[in-house]
Symmetry: C2
Subunit: 144 residues, 2 copies
């Protein structure tokens, strides 16, 4: 199964807020670019706000970033939108048979390997900032 598109949409939201920084970026505006329902966007905005990435206020139209794009990594977004919990990218079967040598050791053996694999994936996300994403979008505009 795949990691929720909340992550991709979260990146989209933050990038577009910056792209539209001189205008008002409402949930409806974002929803139209993402092509989804404004309520979906508002739920995500709530998560991004809770993580301290954006500033939004009830009744006041528009969201703003709280930091520079270069200070926000994809890992920050990934954590903000809650798509994968710590050490839970891979699930391990519960209650193996303890009277079996394999059954009683498999969890302890596998867990650190899975954690390492998850960590390697997350490290890539830590090394990409929203500024990198923005630059690529702008380049796509100029070349494509």
């Amino acid at each position: 199964m795949s990691i929720s598109s909340r992550f991709a949409v979260g990146i989209h939201i933050l990038t577009l807020i910056e792209f539209n920084k001189d205008g008002i970026t409402s949930s409806e505006f974002l929803a139209s670019s993402v092509n989804t329902n404004p309520a979906v966007i508002r739920k995500l905005m709530g998560m991004l706000k809770k993580a301290g990435l954006i500033e939004v206020h009830p009744g006041i139209a528009g969201a703003k970033l709280t930091m520079k794009l270069s200070d926000i990594t994809l890992f920050d977004v990934y954590k903000a939108v809650n798509v994968v919990q710590d050490k839970e990218l891979f699930s391990i079967h519960e209650n193996p048979q303890l009277s079996c040598p394999v059954g009683r050791n498999i969890q302890n053996t596998i867990e650190p390997i899975f954690a390492t694999a998850q960590g390697a994936m997350e490290k890539v996300l830590k090394n990409v900032t929203l500024e990198d994403v923005m630059n690529d979008i702008v380049a796509g505009e100029n070349i494509g």
Copy 2:
């Protein structure tokens, strides 16, 4: 969301087949160690067989590995049990608004980043063999 425990169970199955190589490793035997239903195990056995990792025959009790543990990586198991498709660890929202600069570039921008992150995770799995897993299980037996 998490990657299916089919992966962890697949590792369990293969390791136990080797551990019990002088005996007969039936789906019922495996199911009791994993603590699940034999039909679940047989379905996984079918996947492992299709991937060429084990040999099983209708009507004949027991499965055997087709290779040495040191020749099977966790990545092989991961692919065999079909838990994550190529370039699909992360899902990306479909149909963003093409009239928006961010909407029309976000997919192309994000895709390679996600592929890199997935690749980093999978690289870890490629660098661990079932022999490593077995050694850790044996060590757990001797120390723990």
